[in-house]
């Protein structure tokens, strides 16, 4: 498998498989999924994994397929000709290369990201069919054909705002990124925020028992506030059945275990529970 989870991106097996297939068979990979599931990030990670440069083409509602190839700036040329600029003589000076052109003429293989393709006009994907298939296009102004030296790895993302035409879909491999399940979510959170829970819990206890102060905190949280805070931080560690089970005696071992796992100093915890009981009876 050439693409797998990295230190900063968690990839599911299906996703790794889809990327693998797309890269090896040199077909574009169309990625859909709910917003926030990491579609755009995927292209960056693929580029990193494969050690390729990433060319990003972010599609807007006004984007036309031609812009991805090149743009001919006729207006500037007209103006220059009025001023008598020498550049006017060579039309090549007014051809601005688009992202596809840049990807095609690169000596090394690159990753080309076409981001949010469904934002553009409905005909947009159809206008790119030949370019994606044969990886070449014709420039009318200079009468030359630009052909890809190496077929770029094309990653296309869509937010599902519009239906994509069939002819286009047939040319791509498709993958739907599911919303991550709980374990994947936890893994992703751990990748970005390791130890955050431990830190916050320990800090809360330290502050409460005046072992240290948090800068900017005006007053110490009260016992009940602190208990609420701890509950919030540690709620994930307590299995649902315990939360809904009304029999406290059954809860003790897992709760104790959960608390101990996050807080080395068991004594501090016991002191806290004692003070809490005292306060609620006072």
């Amino acid at each position: 498998m050439i693409f797998d989870s990295t230190a900063t991106y968690i990839s599911t097996d299906e996703l790794s498989m889809a990327v693998d297939a797309a890269v090896k068979l040199e077909r574009p990979l169309l990625v859909k999924g709910e917003p926030g599931t990491g579609k755009t990030l995927l292209a960056e990670e693929i580029a990193n994994s494969l050690g390729m440069e990433l060319i990003q083409w972010h599609i807007k509602s006004t984007t036309k397929a031609q812009q991805g190839l090149y743009e001919y700036d006729a207006v500037t040329r007209l103006r220059d000709s009025q001023l008598g600029d020498e550049r006017v003589k060579d039309i090549r000076n007014y051809i601005k290369k688009g992202k596809l052109w840049q990807a095609f003429e690169s000596d090394k293989r690159v990753v080309l990201l076409i981001d949010e393709i469904d934002k553009a006009d409905i005909e947009f994907p159809n206008d790119l069919l030949q370019e994606l298939d044969r990886m070449e296009f014709f420039v009318y102004e200079t009468a030359e054909t630009i052909k890809a030296k190496q077929r770029p790895v094309v990653v296309i993302t869509s937010n599902n705002e519009k239906e994509l035409p069939d002819a286009f879909l047939r040319r791509c491999f498709f993958h739907y990124i599911n919303f991550p399940d709980r374990e994947t979510m936890q893994a992703i959170v751990d990748v970005h925020y390791p130890e955050i829970k431990k830190e916050l819990v320990k800090e809360a206890m330290d502050i409460f028992f005046d072992v240290r102060k948090v800068p900017g905190l005006k007053k110490k949280p009260s016992t009940s506030e602190l208990i609420d805070w701890l509950k919030l931080l540690m709620a994930d560690d307590i299995p649902d059945e315990i939360l809904t089970n009304r029999d406290p005696s059954k809860a003790i071992p897992p709760l104790y275990g959960a608390l101990v796992k996050n807080e080395q100093d068991v004594h501090l915890l016991e002191r806290l529970a004692f003070m809490n009981r005292r306060n609620s009876r006072g």
């Binding site: 709910e34 917003p35 926030g36 599931t37 990491g38 207006v75 007209l78 103006r79 009025q82 919303f179 991550p180 709980r182 979510m185 936890q186 992703i188 959170v189 970005h192 925020y193 955050i196 829970k197 916050l200 809360a204 502050i207 948090v214 900017g216 905190l217 949280p221 506030e225 602190l226 208990i227 609420d228 805070w229 509950k231 919030l232 931080l233 709620a235 994930d236 307590i238 315990i242 939360l243 809904t244 009304r246 406290p248 005696s249 809860a251 003790i252 709760l255 104790y256 608390l259 016991e270 529970a273 004692f274 809490n276 009981r277 609620s280 009876r281 006072g282």
Partner: protein, 393 residues
Amino acid sequence: MLINFFLTLRKYKVPVTLRELMDLLEALRLRIVYANIDDFYLLSRTCLVKDEKNYDKFDRAFSAYFKGLEDLHGMLESLIPDEWLRREFEKTLTPEELEKIKSLGGLEKLIEAFQKAREEEEARQAKEAKEGKEGKEGQEGDDPEQKGKKGAGGLGQGKKKKAKKVWDERQYKNLDDSVELGTRNIKIALRRLRKFARTGKEEELDMKGTIRATADNGGMLDIRMQPERKNTVKVLCFFDIGGSMDAHVKICEELFSATRTEFKHLESFYFHNFIYESVWKDNRRRMNERLPTFEILNKYAHDYKVVFVGDATMAPYEITHAGGSVEHWNEEPGAVWMSRFTHLYDKIVWINPTPQETWEYSNSVAMTRELVNGKMYPLTIRGLEESMSALTK
């Protein structure tokens, strides 16, 4: 951390994604709030909710999640075995106090008495609460006495009486877009419709105008732009009037007339219950001045978008039979007229002010819905939005 909270929010249909959770964790890492649940409520709302229509759902999810957490409280208390606690407690007492306790029969007895008194107190409070609901008469006199007793006994309130939390107040209920339209959210509905109108304008180079302007300018380039021709929005509205529809029509009318300045062409007509061979423009003149529907079909081309507003509630024969109309004798059934519309116009929607849950129980609503190819939407903000996007697709 906070994964369960996140999943609860999704269960309540708050559209949160990992991005938002990460933002919230970052905020916690930076210690923006600290050990304060009210602050946490505000912070999490800022990070996780991107539209006020989701505020109410967020409040409900938050409330549900924290109710679950409250139950943890009892468990935390029972974490420490009683024995251990007593020993600790005794350590904190002075020798004199220890003596006193011994004279009262020992710590055990004291705690028992304490518990019993507290239980009695709680029972009495519960009873009062019950009585308070049934009859208020004896209540006033009793109260000060109760308060006095509480003070003397030094018993704390067993039950926690929390101030009502911000998220339980449900102050954003109105902004929830599945709630029916009312005067308060008409402004929001207006905003959505206006979006519909403006999708019509785009700029493109006006070749002729540019050439002329450049020539007039002595050869110096002068670029002119013009709005793209094909996209101006044209709308035909048909309102069901009379009987049950009167209350709803007013709101709809206000809505559409407010956007009249935005639409290039807006024509509205009235009908009663269903569409037949004539409609009218002025309700006072409905008996005398009627417009034949055929005229409308001929006059307004197929690129007009058609909106019907009505409750579609009538006897089924009013749709299916000649002579079915309750007001007059119609030569052809309503269904035939509607099919003429659907054949001519590509974009037709029907907006129904009655609640969507009741639609399946009415024959006429189901029939109407089928006749407009399923494009029936409720008169809520979301319904309006969906109908508008159905018209623009």
